[in-house]
Subunit: 147 residues, 4 copies
């Protein structure tokens, strides 16, 4: 299956590093979400518009991360974002944090479920969203999940 | 003038300390605002209710802080909150950050203006709020602004 | 197995709520870590001392969270912290976020590994730490994991 | 006086917006500091290097901000950074937050003092730093402080 990844870069800022001298793990999720917002906007699905128009709800039901090596102040990090799982009403995003040498420093995943606001139950992903997500489906077990 | 302060305590958490080994200055404002929320709730004016009922708007128009000595991981800090200035439609809160020896580590101030949501212009502070604030008016130039 | 939990309370502050009107999921991990710091301090193992003395390193290797119901501004939340898994060189903390009615709103878990700073490899947990953790071992599958 | 500004852009992310529907004011200082880090790196003075080499200390002694209009989710903001004041041992940075129409939404200022780490007293700014800062001196009272 042909697949591609979305790339998002950032430099570890002073305030993300904690008293132990490494990036506080909770901030990894903030950067992951920033990558998600940029990914959605790049695919004509800006979150601010989705929220304002109240068309869909895509609550996060699960988030997880594995930390392989600590991130330090000033490091340039690239997040490789792809779709690790795509279901009828839910999807899982994979965020691979890579340093400038290509080494994987951390992996994060978020699971989102589409909820029908009126009925409060899960609902099929909107077609417009599913079409975008299909393009980014990757194999999370691969060392090179999407290119 | 008889006056009193509101006290709010916290311990500097791991994630507030930055790559330079001291509390990142921006987090001081977060703690100041937490003290403000606790102060309002303690005086029967919980912010979540004010926002939900959309009765008033109290936007912050100015914030400032002076840092005397860096705050370090694990330090127990007490914020002394009082009203440094009380006008017809606006007020200034003073947040004095003191350590366990009583030494002042930082001073922060926030200026809030009451805005009439319908007309978009400044409006007299609601009576219920003004009555509370009057009780906490202090002299910010004093070394012991309120007790 | 007799076991107990450590309890840590907080009120959802204004700045934790995001543009979608609910607590941003990344902040859950900040509160979980605040509970961890308070738990360690309450058991005579303050993190700031462990870090300064550079005696042990307890890096987080994994963090995860499931969100059952969104947290909203002003809600009083109690974190029930217990030890979901205790190994020779690692342990898993469970953080159960409960509201005032006792309903579980979210579960978070962090996995910590003790690292020998000199050799860079995992090492048995310090006895002083293991003794504390044993007291708080709980059954994470139980609806009432520790009391 | 010829002068120039440094420009730094960002889009208001979901997690910066608070329960009142606008960017939490404390986050403005985080973005200001990110602009400062980018400015220093662009001028061959990366903060991570300065901190690691422990050559100078540039503690913040004061920070302030005026908020003219709230920032909302998804807005593209440009920070115009210039040097509002340059002394022998201290300097003041001005951060002007402008939206896409060029409207000023907020102004922030940070005051930094060079401290001699050994003696603990203020010291003349390092020549390398002073030379860079001179290039960016602006007139903060001007509506167009630096170009």
């Amino acid at each position: 299956m042909p697949s591609k990844s979305y790339f998002y870069g950032f430099k570890v800022p002073l305030h993300d590093v904690d008293a132990a001298g490494v990036m506080f793990f909770g901030h990894l999720f903030r950067h992951a979400h920033d990558a998600y917002e940029a990914f959605m906007a790049a695919n004509d699905l800006p979150l601010e518009q989705i929220i304002q128009e109240d068309e869909w709800l895509l609550p996060l039901v699960r988030a997880e991360s594995e930390f392989r090596a600590p991130l330090r102040h000033g490091e340039s990090i690239r997040i490789r974002l792809c779709v690790a799982d795509l279901g009828r009403s839910s999807f899982t995003l994979l965020y691979r944090f890579e340093d400038e040498t290509g080494q994987i420093r951390a992996d994060a995943r978020t699971v989102h479920v589409n909820v029908d606001a009126a009925r409060g139950s899960s609902a099929a992903l909107p077609k417009r969203l599913a079409t975008v997500l299909e393009t980014y489906v990757c194999d999370p077990r691969s060392s090179d999940p999407g290119r």
